[in-house]
């Protein structure tokens, strides 16, 4: 997050993962940047945390309902990564979007490489151990969805 180009696109991508609506994601991203301009200046890390926190708050306000995924396995199965290239982009976007919070935001921020773990934990209001659990649960749930071959029925959502 050293320069401006490093956060603009990830900020929008984060909004899009949470909202799954390009127009709304753009609106939320712009609103968040405009709101940050009015806040007291801070260093790059503080600004980044403010921006991603702002996008998340606005996104959850717009689309707060998250469908819980199927109950996760204990660990990612071996060769879990193999399901990712095989999945359609639309399926990945939908699966990421459908993850429950705070795992969805945590995994999105981690994958977008916008800040280190302790800052992600602060943005999400989690202890570091809680963040680790949320990330793991999100990965396992995401894998469960991506592993289902195209055309098969989606995994049943847990209550």
């Amino acid at each position: 997050m050293a320069d401006r180009d490093a956060w603009e696109q990830p900020l929008y991508r984060f909004a899009e993962i949470l909202l799954r609506d390009p127009e709304l994601a753009r609106k939320v991203t712009l609103e968040t940047i405009e709101a940050a301009i009015l806040k007291p200046p801070g260093d790059a890390e503080r600004v980044a945390m403010t921006l991603f926190l702002g996008v998340r708050r606005r996104a959850l306000k717009n689309k707060g309902t998250i469908i819980p995924p199927a109950a996760p396995r204990t660990e990612l199965p071996p060769e879990a990564a193999a399901v990712v290239p095989a999945a359609a982009p639309e399926k990945i976007a939908a699966a990421l979007h459908a993850l429950p919070e705070p795992g969805r935001s945590a995994l999105a921020l981690l994958l977008l490489d916008v800040m280190e773990a302790d800052h992600i934990a602060k943005v999400l209001g989690l202890a570091e151990a809680e963040l680790a659990t949320a990330l793991h649960t999100a990965r396992v749930a995401l894998h469960a969805v991506l592993a289902v071959p195209a055309g098969s029925p989606e995994p049943t959502a847990a209550p």
Partner: protein
């Protein structure tokens, strides 16, 4: 670090490798290397995350997004490059503390602090040598400034006598190796009852400003030694009885 801590750190590891320099990450990776199940889970997770990160990066963005975000982003950027001084700012606080530490260190060095490089080694040496009995010395009655030849014959070059101590009456001499490496010449002086140690300062990393005695205490302040550099050699003086005040009193008589 235990298994649970290592697992938590690795689960929050960024697939870009940006966290590789973090101490806790390095420790967790080391820990995992010794625990195959954890290491396997971590590699599995890493491959999964990397594949996902690539797919996310490949997802096309709206063509006009960069233009739309550029202006507000530049305005935000212009604000955050201005840093105001505030005592609550951890970076400013760190700079302030570092400055105060530097000022304190310089004052300590220039005003005087009774310490020098290698002082601990000297204290260790005299503390150990205090317990040596007279049987460890070779009997020799001479002035201190005549001992150089005796020590040369024992393969010790460079015995020096501090100013004002040339006529000190010596009643015994000793040569030993401190920590089996550093030769130390010792002269037992009769009046006042004192021990004069001479050694090459470089071998113990001792460095002193030339021309004056440095007096320090050891054994919890009960005993004192005075150290002085003459050329490459270090002279150390201890009185057989008395503490710092007595030693300083004797040093004041040396002219």
């Amino acid at each position: 670090m235990n298994a649970r801590q290592a697992r938590n750190v690795l689960r929050a590891y960024r697939p870009s490798g940006e966290d590789d320099h973090e101490r806790d990450v390095r420790e967790a990776v080391k820990f995992a290397a010794k625990h195959p199940a954890l290491e396997s889970d971590f590699h599995n997770q890493l491959a999964f995350d990397r594949a996902l990160a690539v797919r996310l990066e490949e997802t096309p963005l709206p063509p006009d997004l960069a233009t739309a975000l550029a202006a507000p982003a530049l305005r935000l950027e212009a604000r955050r490059t201005t840093r105001r001084f505030t005592l609550r700012d951890p970076a400013m606080l760190a700079v302030g503390l570092a400055f105060l530490f530097l000022v304190g260190l310089l004052a300590w060095i220039f005003v005087g602090h009774g310490s020098f490089a290698g002082m601990d080694e000297v204290a260790d040496l005299v503390s150990k040598a205090d317990g040596v009995g007279p049987e460890q010395f070779s009997e020799l009655q001479a002035r201190a400034d005549t001992l150089g030849d005796w020590f040369v014959m024992k393969d010790f070059d460079g015995f020096v006598v501090p100013p004002g101590m040339g006529a000190a009456p010596v009643i015994g001499v000793r040569l030993f190796k401190f920590e089996d490496t550093t030769p130390v010449a010792v002269a037992a002086i009769a009046q006042p009852r004192a021990l004069l140690y001479v050694l090459d300062g470089a071998s113990l990393g001792i460095s002193l400003p030339e021309g004056k005695w440095n007096v320090s205490t050891y054994n919890g302040g009960k005993r004192a030694f005075a150290a002085r550099q003459i050329g490459n050699m270090i002279c150390i003086l201890t009185l057989r009885t008395g503490a710092k005040a007595e030693l300083e009193k004797y040093l004041a008589t040396l002219r």
